[in-house]
Symmetry: C2
Subunit: 273 residues, 2 copies
């Protein structure tokens, strides 16, 4: 009997050396239930052909990654960001992704409060396009160490505030343990997120000690200090029954044979779930 | 007329290539008002002789750095940490420092909540020794990127909770812009910290974009994206009239001639204050 991987999803970036077709082939052979597709994995084919390819494999498309990056001091850059997000919503629809994950962005040349306001304005501007495509925008709060350039939304509380402000079925939240594990309010904010119907995605990996690179040294589940089982319990308690999405950026793990890495991911997953 | 550097303090670690005597000499020649002394700068002489040396220079000792590191899975290690902190309180008294800064610690092998409880227990165990020495313990909340090994106290709210729990004149808080600048609740939590009499120290530097090293790539004030003037205004509004302490760890800046670096620090300080 195969182990139950029906709720395991892998982000294509996790096995970056594989192109989309190889990822689809390897994940589906292994029985992995879902795939979250990064834009770079689609770029070579274009989103329509990528969609045709994806539909040949027995894996669910869980999300398209990643829109956002709304803030900029330059107004034209903000308009460009809105266009870019609309295009990504079209692409998400093409590949059958129900969610576009938002890394909201930040501009170190302006106050965080201004970046936060521009994020809100940017999301507001693309909601109608999200609705027209039937694709939900999922705000992903990012670790405070990325507050300078990647996201001015750094806690689940902020993401909850923003999602509740919109109160739209087209705006949800992606909870990623890497970004949020340290937060003393995490349990309460996860409960709030679920209670208000905003918990759309759950991303997993681990925090390495030491972390050698702020971007590309994420750990495989179980390697680090994140209490994955505990956080997962908080997520499940809200009624969440979606995918557990493995999103690992790792210079180290991208260097090993990727089938070996996939096997490790599955073993690590099965130890916890 | 000399510029007013009476509220400028420099941490010895900032000019790490200088030994204590050279730091005292250079800082006082430049008119810098205060010095915060790191344990490594005292180790060569011992704290009594270091105290004798310091008293020959017209600079105030602002704080001794750094105690803490209370959590550990091993009970004996926790007892050792308490002894180490008591010894540091003795040394702080020897050099005339009114404050011992606490980097509270964390053990990645145990839950953050447990580390937080052990921090509280550790501080409680050393308060009588702090009182006997007339040295205040200053809890320094650290950036969430250090939650694995350096501190399980990662927001000013947590530090406020802890200081208010003790409600002791021997427990205060060190506010460091590097650790806290991203926090959407920072203004409110600084006000709370001041209102409750717990704002004991104010540390300054900047956040570089990109940050090449999680520990030793802090920026000089003005180089990065931290709204120093704004945060300083929030601190001053509480009535705080203490030192602005420059605490920069930088592989890059430790490599330039340190007198040149000191001149840069003074210029950067005078642009803001």
């Amino acid at each position: 009997m195969h182990p139950d991987l029906s709720r395991l999803c892998i982000h294509t970036i996790t096995t970056k050396p594989w192109d989309l077709e190889e990822a689809l082939d390897r994940y589906s052979r292994a029985g992995v239930g879902g795939i979250s597709v990064w834009q770079d994995a689609v770029a070579a084919l274009g989103s329509r052909k990528a969609g045709d390819l994806i539909r040949q494999y027995p894996v669910d498309v869980v999300s398209y990654v990643r829109g956002g990056f709304f803030p900029a001091a330059d107004p034209q850059a903000r308009l460009n960001a809105i266009d870019r997000n609309k295009k990504m919503l079209d692409e998400a629809a093409d590949i059958g992704a129900p969610i576009l994950v938002l890394v909201c962005g930040a501009d170190p040349g302006q106050p965080l409060e201004l970046s936060r306001a521009q994020i809100r304005d940017g999301i507001e501007a693309v909601i109608p396009h999200a609705a027209a495509n039937g694709v939900q925008l999922a705000i992903e709060p990012l670790h405070p160490m990325y507050a300078d350039t990647r996201s001015a939304v750094n806690t689940l509380e902020q993401a909850n505030d923003m999602a509740e402000y919109f109160n739209s079925e087209w705006v949800g939240i992606a909870v990623d343990v890497y970004h949020l594990w340290w937060d003393p309010h995490l349990e309460d904010q996860i409960a709030r997120c679920g209670r208000n119907g905003n918990l759309s995605a759950f991303h997993i990996c681990d925090w390495n000690t030491p972390t050698s690179d702020m971007l590309n040294d994420r750990g495989l589940m179980g390697e680090g200090c994140i209490p994955l089982h505990q956080i997962s319990t908080w997520v499940e308690r809200t009624g969440f029954s979606g995918y557990r999405e493995v999103e690992i950026f790792s210079n180290r793990l991208w260097q090993i044979p990727q089938q070996e890495f996939l096997d490790k991911i599955i073993s690590a997953y099965l130890k916890i779930w």
